[in-house]
């Protein structure tokens, strides 16, 4: 196996940043996967236009994964192409990767890391830190993980090739969502008191009763998420419409 040269690795990384550029209900990320693989396919098939076009067309078919972990699929497929895997092997491999890459990425990034970064950035802002500090903290924390995952995925996919599924299942990344559960819940709880003081804190009096009421509201949101989400959205929109109407009346 030849090493993945730096230029190709950079191209894969840059194109992987746009993997969702043509997301659609028919092939989902398929167009993006084909787009990301184009540099490798050009290198492999060179002047054989027919084989090149057939290969690009195949890779633009159905595919979906978490966008950050899609780099695993990109380089693993690139290696399989280089090793001369059959069309059938490649298609079966793509189908097999969709579920593990999607579920791991969704659990880790959308359900743990992103809300954790938001809470970690919100607490100091609500407690009085400057806005830019909170914004920068969020962006740095979040994107450190994002870029690490993309680069790790590029290496893993190329290194493991068709065995990447097994490597993925035994990786530390798989256990990370569970390990982030408690920090996420603690950080979420830590948002509540400064939030109360920022919006509902009674001037001069102890804010503890209001924090208690906010805790009850959070518990309602936890136990009845669908109802609470609808009520929150409708409530805010209705309140803003009432306020605009009220202020226009005053004017």
């Amino acid at each position: 196996m030849a090493a993945l040269n730096r230029q190709l690795r950079l191209r894969f990384l840059l194109r992987s940043l746009m993997i969702q550029g043509s997301w659609n209900y028919r092939t989902m990320q398929g167009g993006g996967l084909g787009f990301a693989l184009v540099p490798m396919l050009r290198k492999l098939y060179g002047q054989d236009r027919e084989a090149l076009n057939a290969s690009v067309g195949r890779h633009a078919g159905f595919f979906n994964a978490h966008p950050y972990l899609a780099t695993v699929a990109i380089t693993a497929l690139a290696r399989m192409e280089e090793e001369g895997a059959t069309v059938d092997q490649i298609e079966r491999f793509k189908s097999a990767l969709v579920s593990p890459l999607g579920s791991l990425g969704d659990r880790l990034v959308w359900a743990r890391w992103r809300p954790l970064c938001v809470f970690v950035a919100l607490v100091p802002f609500l407690a009085g830190a400057p806005w830019w500090a909170a914004t920068c903290l969020f962006l740095i924390l979040y994107n450190a993980m994002q870029m690490s995952m993309r680069i790790w995925g590029l290496r893993l996919g190329w290194h493991e090739g068709r065995d990447v599924g097994r490597a993925l299942m035994s990786s530390r990344l798989r256990r990370l969502p569970d390990r982030l559960t408690i920090p996420l819940a603690i950080a979420g709880g830590a948002v509540l008191p400064p939030l109360v003081l920022a919006f509902g804190g009674p001037s001069g009096a102890s804010p503890i009763p209001v924090i208690g009421i906010a805790l009850v509201l959070a518990a309602l949101g936890y136990s009845r998420p669908t109802t609470a989400r609808r009520a929150v959205t409708v409530g805010i929109v209705a309140a803003s419409i009432i306020l605009v109407g009220l202020e226009m009346t005053v004017w």
Binding site: L17, R26, G102, R112, A134, I186, Y222, V244, M248
Partner: protein, 216 residues
Amino acid sequence: MALLGGLLGLDGISCVQSMVARPIVAGPLAGLVIGDPVAGMWAGALLELVSLKQLPIGANRHWDTGPAAVAAAVAASTVSPAGTALVVGVGFGALVGWAGSWSIHAMRHLNAQVVASQVGRPMAPYELDFRHLVAMTIDFVRAVLLTLTAVLCVLVVTPHVGGAPQSAVTFSAVALLVAAAAALGVVIGTMARGRVVVIAFGVGVLISTVVTLWLR
């Protein structure tokens, strides 16, 4: 502002997904452009709590938070007093985010025509590159138009708004707190469940209460 919304819309799904389009970043950025990043940050922070529950998984429809945060920040910066401005800003943001989710839905159908109509057939690399970039351009134009429409709506409404009574300001603060607290619970309940989660959330509230009161 519309161009900013376009770039944020692009970051939301099509390109990079660095989360610059999240309200906690897009709100203060838009606020910075119009000269009030703090108001933008407050609107962004609240919109973030309200929208954080929505996960961009598969074909899930979710708010387009970039243009939504721009609209929220513009509304929050132009309405006074501040308490009322935030409710109006977050309300506008929620409406724009919801409208954005439908525009993304329509764009995904359009993308199927642009990119996926050739599925299974041989395709030249430059053709795939071109179709992919066209789809990204459509996303950019979609977000620009959405932001432009939202900001124009805000600018039409806000000059007529002003001088709310104190009761409206108090009502605004209570409405925001209720919404934010419930949204926080919804986010935690969506991301993780179980007794350990509830206990950890309580520990977080306790530690934060002690530290906040001590700092106060």
